[in-house]
């Protein structure tokens, strides 16, 4: 390989030999990853409700992302699954077994904390070995087994040789990997990660993301992680759980979530979106008195909100053709390969965004005519946070 091209990232995650994985993962886990299901979970903190009736089934070996804005209840749900909190009502099952009343000690989960929570007075080695050392005498492995397991894990997280270091002597990414090794060391039934990459810089975050996917594919743990970063969730997870206000808005694959958002919130929260308050009348969609080229045959009459992606439009040369919409350009900025225009349209001067080619002939305060080619109608006036990045 060309030496110049061989850029060694902090995390050179060349495939860990499969023997490592075989050693790490007991036959139990490989053959039988744990399913997790929660049913009608409610959690109140004092008078505020953090979770409002959440039900979710997680298949064995699945990698699930809990995605939502802060305060949406995603971390609460994770902590309830872990047993770090107890639900006000509802049920949590691990496989066939009701885990609702079990403490975090008995649930045998691996929990990775947002700020790592490494034991600061212990070396990397002692941190990873902790879960094995605190076992009751009958099930506690002997020192040689512990040493073997720790060194295997150090290889898996690609930090061999750092066992004598203290957490303060490690970088953020290294600490996070030690935290993961410590959680895996106890051979958990489920792996739970709370904003695992939240405190890391963007580059390390991307590397760790791919690496976590690799580890997951190798070890096969049922894994749930919390994130507020949609890119992370969509890229990493088998299925994404979008949460808002203590409720699940939608569960699905990245494609489901992005292409077929179930609720206005999901459309708004995932990816860029524009929204227009419209009126549906006999299968036609009106913005004020203008008919839009949107099919609404299945929609009930009345007020509705039209959601579309800024890039799901095509410019129209005249603005006279039926269904076209004309807006006044209020701002324009360059985003990657396109120019994003902030338009004003309609009597109430609704603001929204569209993407146009860089070479499109548009002027600030000039008029732009376009057609929405792909959109989604939701009945009622939905709240929409105009994306302003």
């Amino acid at each position: 390989m060309n030496a110049l091209l061989h850029y060694r990232t902090e995390l050179d995650y060349a495939d860990a030999p499969s023997s490592i994985v075989a050693e790490l993962v007991g036959e139990r886990l490989r053959g039988d990853p744990m399913t997790v299901s929660v049913k009608d979970l409610f959690k109140d903190f004092g008078t505020t409700a953090a979770l409002n009736g959440v039900s979710l089934d997680i298949a064995g070996g699945e990698l699930i992302a809990l995605l939502g804005p802060s305060g949406s209840g995603k971390t609460t749900l994770l902590r309830l699954i872990a047993g770090l909190e107890f639900p006000t009502s509802g049920q949590i099952r691990f496989g066939e077994e009701d885990a609702s009343a079990k403490s975090v000690r008995e649930r045998n989960v691996g929990f990775v904390f947002q700020h790592y929570a490494l034991f600061r007075h212990m070396t990397v080695y002692e941190n990873i070995a902790f879960g094995l050392r605190v076992r009751p005498r009958a099930t506690r492995p002997d020192e040689a087994t512990i040493r073997k397991r720790v060194s295997t894990l150090l290889e898996l997280i690609q930090l061999p040789g750092l066992e004598r270091r203290y957490p303060t002597q490690l970088s953020g990414g290294q600490r996070q990997r030690v935290a993961l090794a410590r959680a895996i060391a106890v051979d958990p039934r489920v792996l739970l990660l709370d904003e695992p990459f939240g405190a890391l810089d963007a580059k390390v975050r991307k590397e760790l993301r791919r690496w976590l996917r690799e580890i997951h594919d190798q070890t096969g743990h049922t894994t749930v992680f919390v994130t507020h970063d949609q890119e992370e969730a969509l890229e990493l997870a088998d299925r994404v759980v979008v949460m808002n206000n203590g409720k699940i808005e939608q569960v699905g694959t990245a494609d489901d979530i992005y292409d077929r958002p179930a609720t206005p919130f999901v459309f708004d929260f995932i990816g860029d979106s524009s929204a227009l308050p419209v009126t549906v009348d006999k299968g036609h969609v009106f913005l004020d008195d203008r008919v839009l080229a949107v099919d609404a045959k299945a929609q009930p009459d009345g007020p509705a909100t039209l959601f579309f992606r800024p890039n799901h439009i095509e410019l129209s040369s005249t603005g006279q053709e039926s269904g076209a919409l004309v807006g006044v350009v209020r701002a324009a900025r360059r985003i990657g390969d396109v120019r994003r225009l902030e338009l004003e349209a309609g009597l109430a001067r609704h603001r929204f965004e569209i993407d146009v080619p860089i070479d499109a002939n548009v002027n600030l305060h000039g008029r732009v005519a376009f057609r929405i080619v792909k959109s989604r109608l939701f009945p009622g006036q939905a709240a929409h946070s105009q994306a302003s990045v």
Partner: protein, 295 residues
């Protein structure tokens, strides 16, 4: 050498022309330092020197014979005994209180913290009187206990109680902010890894606060051995029985036995010096750990 003498004035000129914006002028700084030093010398260092010169004024033999006096030995023993009971008691209490305050949310927490500080704000004499009122011959519980042959006031138990009361806040006060800052995440991690509450305490919580704990114990010990006011009220000052070292010093001094008084006092002063040295060492160590924990 000549280079240095040539460049030094120019450097200094550069420094004064661009004085640090956040620092006082040179004369003000000098004045502040001088005031501090004079104050320390007159009020702290000079008395300390006097204690030792007075103690050794009549020679080393007089000094040691004063210390070998049976009453003096008894007072030293009593002081050590009281400290040996009061310090561990407050160690246990301090850790428990700090744990409760730092790791749990409960009603009346602010009140509990204020209560822990009470011995700091109450005069030691009052602290002693409380126990006289409770356990004295005319007190609430005194007659009952007396009928069972239990003597608290004018006896060792009273001295221990008063000392515990006065040294109550030291350990807790030291640990509460430290534990609050460290939060509960490491404990949660330990429990999620299968550790019991006891294992979590011994393997995670305690090692994280060990320097702060030692610091608190040290201050607690110094105060326990040096306490005068509260102990003096409950002790009854029976020589050789209920006099701790500070009380013994006072008795000797009132008896015009200056050398003997200063000899015992010199031991207390020595204790203070040792405490100071260990405290400085711990601050150095402990400060390091704290900054490491924050990093």
């Amino acid at each position: 050498m000549s280079d240095v003498s040539l460049t030094a004035p120019s450097l200094r000129a550069a420094a004064t022309s661009r004085a640090e914006p956040t620092t006082e002028a040179r004369p003000v700084r000098g004045l502040l330092i001088a005031i501090t030093l004079i104050f320390l010398g007159v009020f702290l260092l000079f008395p300390l020197v006097v204690v030792f010169t007075e103690a050794l004024g009549r020679g080393v033999f007089a000094y040691f014979s004063a210390l070998a006096d049976p009453d003096a030995v008894a007072s030293i023993q009593l002081t050590l005994l009281v400290a040996a009971i009061a310090v561990p008691a407050n160690l246990v209490f301090g850790v428990a209180a700090a744990w409760a305050v730092a790791k749990y949310e409960f009603r009346g927490k602010a009140f509990l913290i204020t209560l822990i500080d009470l011995p700091f704000s109450v005069s030691p004499v009052i602290s002693g009187l409380i126990y006289v009122v409770l356990f004295g011959a005319q007190g609430y519980l005194g007659p009952t206990l007396q009928s069972y042959g239990i003597q608290i006031i004018f006896a060792v138990p009273g001295i221990v109680l008063a000392t515990i009361f006065v040294t109550f806040p030291f350990v807790a006060r030291e640990l509460i902010p430290l534990m609050q800052e460290q939060g509960t995440q490491e404990e949660e991690a330990a429990i999620s890894l299968g550790a019991s509450g006891w294992q979590t305490f011994w393997c995670v919580t305690l090692p994280n606060v060990k320097w702060g704990l030692m610091y608190g114990v040290l201050l607690c010990n110094a105060r326990a051995m040096g306490e005068f006011g509260a102990v003096s009220v409950v002790s009854g000052k029976i020589r050789g029985e209920t006099t701790t070292m500070p009380l013994h010093v006072e008795i000797l001094y009132n008896d015009y036995q200056g050398t003997a008084a200063f000899a015992v006092a010199s031991l207390l002063a020595l204790l203070a010096l040792v405490t100071l040295v260990v405290k400085t060492f711990l601050e150095w160590r402990f400060g390091d750990e704290l900054s490491a924990a924050r990093r």
